[in-house]
């Protein structure tokens, strides 16, 4: 245990981020910390209708209730789900989400084969579904269905849960284990969430897909 503790302290120096360590992907991009491009989480799961898959992109984490009302999606930030359906970790399809300030809607494009792969993207074709952004304090979420796809965009409770505080103590050497009862460091905080539900039939015929989430800045 002592040896493990020493090793954890050594490891801590290598990946602490200004004394703070965040899990999932929360504030994990030094170049974009705290910005609208900051990804917190990606989820992919089958929908209430198991013929559909749901894609969730969460950004702008650790929003307090007091700051959620003023949180906004950014029209210069492209939120892009990348899908590989032939096992080579290169995107075969993309689902692109971009906020339009004039209409206050999140526009969703795809799933579509992208005209270029890798670091750079452009919007592909016409939007498949457009949904009004749900405002903070709305009594129920605004959703839209179009072309067989459902979309939502707006603030949500951060679904991620972790005793990050205790983990930091372990890494910092002031604790040797988690507590018998942990405390969720993300309790009571919000994120800006984009949720798209899509029929599996639009994603190809592979039995399994690989998905990754990217945010991209307009250039």
């Amino acid at each position: 245990m002592k040896k493990l503790k020493v090793q954890l302290i050594l490891a801590a120096g290598a990946f602490a981020l200004g004394g703070m360590l965040f899990a999932a992907d929360h504030i994990d991009a030094p170049g974009v910390t705290g910005s609208s491009q900051d990804i917190t989480d990606l989820y992919v799961f089958r929908g209430q209708d198991t013929n559909n898959l749901v894609f969730v992109a969460n950004t702008q984490g650790l929003l307090s209730p007091g700051s959620t009302g003023s949180a906004k999606f950014d029209p210069n930030t492209l939120i892009e789900f990348n899908i590989d359906n032939n096992g080579d970790n290169v995107e075969d399809l993309v689902i692109q989400c971009i906020y339009d300030g004039a209409s206050n809607k999140m526009k969703v494009y795809g799933p579509v084969k992208p005209s270029e792969i890798g670091m750079r993207s452009k919007l592909e074709g016409n939007a498949a579904v457009e949904v009004g952004v749900t405002s903070y304090g709305a009594s129920s979420p605004t959703t839209m269905q179009s072309n067989g796809m459902w979309a939502f965009a707006g603030p949500r409770d951060d679904p991620f849960f972790f005793d990050l505080t205790q983990y930091k103590k372990i890494i910092g050497g002031t604790a040797t284990s988690f507590n018998a009862s942990g405390t969720d460091a993300f309790a009571g905080t919000n994120v800006m969430s984009t949720v798209v539900e899509i029929p599996k039939s639009k994603l190809g015929t592979a039995a399994s897909i690989n998905v990754w989430l990217e945010t991209k800045k307009k250039i």
């Binding site: 981020l17 994990d28 983990y167 250039i219």
Partner: protein, 172 residues
């Protein structure tokens, strides 16, 4: 006269610029990579601070070659006693999987990070991904090693999820 010619030339050039912008296919709007994510916590735990921006700008098909060795170094720094984990993976096999930071999802089966039976078939909102990853990093071959490090005892979100779209809970 000279000024008049210059003035006319300026007006023509400005008009040409405006026409060129709307007709020029090179005026397409592009977006360049900022942040990237596949599996939860992997970038945070395994990528050094100095490498994070580079990692976020590495295409997944190139991640394994660029980062597997570094991930292995980090794994062994976290757990010097690492041999294999509950998925019978050696350090090389485990970090080889993790270094290509993509989230796999089944198109036919239940989607979950890990439920005891299904392994990496997706990521559902209620999945305790932290416990899964702690177990695979610290739990050893039987999952019983380092018991103080394999469960943070925060096993559910602070708000209930919905069974209907959009599934995520309303904000605080």
């Amino acid at each position: 006269m000279k000024f008049l010619i210059v003035g006319i030339a300026f007006i023509i050039s400005v008009a040409s610029c405006k026409k060129k912008k709307t007709d020029d296919p090179a005026a397409t709007t592009y977006y360049m990579q900022s942040d990237q994510m596949g599996r939860p916590a992997i970038n945070t735990v395994f990528v050094d601070a100095a490498d994070k921006d580079n990692f976020n700008n590495t295409t997944p098909s190139a991640m394994g070659g660029a980062y597997q060795a570094k991930f292995k170094t980090k794994l062994l720094a976290l757990n010097t006693g690492y041999t294999t984990n509950a998925l019978t993976q050696t350090a090389d096999a485990f970090t080889g999987l993790l270094a290509t930071d993509v989230l796999s999802a089944s198109m036919t089966k239940k989607t979950t990070f890990f439920d005891g039976t299904n392994v990496l078939t997706g990521r559902a909102l209620a999945d305790d991904v932290i416990n899964v990853e702690l177990l695979l990093i610290f739990g050893g071959p039987a999952g019983s090693s380092n018991p103080g490090l394999t469960d943070d005892h925060v096993n559910a979100n602070d708000k209930a999820f919905s069974s209907t779209f959009p599934y995520l809970a309303s904000p605080f």
